[in-house]
């Protein structure tokens, strides 16, 4: 059972990735990449990492990829929508991917939670994860918190728009 799910998900991840790295249109690439991340999240779930799987969806697919999408839209990087072939050809891969991912999700939801393949049965509940994180990785948490703060400061500075700058000049005057 899990073997089948694994193969389906692997195929989905590979297909999504292949599509992502070959699309001309960056928006399409983002969409396919999001699918790849969904597939990966499900694989993480199989491997007994439900929390990481959730983050994969929330942070990667949810936050980072949307940020990408946002930037692509903002910079208007999408090439003109010249139709290449019939519509179903363009939509088929996405539908196939989404469909298989949804099916796998449903299957996994009904299956045993600890049903990981191979190795010792290992399942990290969010509680285990939290204990592990704060017991041994307190320093790392500390560092990434600084990291995020300063990255935000830097990104804010670098990405600041022209208008802000002009206003800043006005202040000096």
């Amino acid at each position: 059972m899990t073997a089948a799910i694994f193969y389906i998900l692997s195929a989905a991840a590979l297909l999504a990735t292949l599509m992502a790295i070959t699309r001309k249109n960056p928006v399409h690439a983002v969409i396919y990449l999001v699918h790849a991340f969904f597939a990966l999240a499900l694989i993480f779930f199989i491997l007994g990492a439900p929390l990481v799987a959730a983050w994969e969806v929330i942070i990667y697919a949810g936050a980072i990829m949307v940020l990408f999408l946002f930037i692509i839209m903002m910079l208007e990087l999408t090439p003109g929508e010249a139709a290449r072939g019939p519509g179903w050809q363009r939509w088929a891969p996405v539908i196939l991917l989404s469909g298989s991912i949804v099916v796998c999700t449903l299957l996994l939801m009904t299956a045993e939670p600890q049903a990981g393949p191979g190795g010792p049965n290992f399942y990290a509940s969010p509680r285990d994860f939290g204990y592990g994180l704060f017991k041994e990785y307190a320093l790392a948490v500390e560092i990434v918190s600084f990291q995020l703060l300063f990255a935000a400061v830097g990104a804010f500075y670098v990405g600041r728009g022209e208008r802000t700058r002009r206003r800043a000049r006005g202040d000096e005057r």
């Binding site: 899990t2 073997a3 694994f6 692997s10 991840a13 590979l14 990735t17 292949l18 992502a20 790295i21 960056p26 690439a29 983002v30 990449l33 790849a36 991340f37 990966l40 694989i43 993480f44 491997l47 007994g48 990492a49 929390l51 990481v52 983050w55 994969e56 942070i59 990667y60 936050a63 980072i64 940020l67 990408f68 930037i71 692509i72 903002m74 910079l75 990087l77 990981g116 393949p117 191979g118 190795g119 010792p120 290992f122 990290a124 285990d128 994860f129 592990g132 994180l133 990785y137 790392a140 990434v144 990291q147 995020l148 990255a151 935000a152 830097g154 990104a155 670098v158 990405g159 022209e162």
Partner: protein
């Protein structure tokens, strides 16, 4: 029977695809996406190994990789926006004023 090696192979293929994308795509944002893909391939390795070894460290590593990726994304995209503002392009072929 699915073993850890299956996962590692999948991870390696994804990593290679990501690398391939970095080497072939022209759009800097897409290149960065491919780099994210490489990171995710590594994440898969970590999770698979964590499961295989039965310890949590791998999962926790993935957590930090994600955090760092988020920080990188923020900074990287900000840099791309500024570049775009000045150059009206985000193609890597145009990021070649400094050379020789």
């Amino acid at each position: 029977m699915i073993t850890v090696n299956h996962y590692l192979v999948l991870s390696a293929i994804l990593f290679a695809l990501g690398t391939f994308g970095v080497l072939t795509r022209r759009n800097a944002i897409v290149i960065f996406m491919c780099i994210e893909l490489m990171l995710n391939a590594v994440n898969l390795s970590f999770i698979a190994l964590s499961h295989h070894l039965g310890n949590l460290d791998g999962q926790i590593f993935v957590f930090f990789v994600m955090t760092v990726a988020a920080a990188e994304a923020a900074v990287g995209l900000a840099l791309m926006i500024t570049f775009f503002r000045n150059r009206e392009s985000i193609e890597v072929d145009d990021i070649s004023m400094l050379k020789w």
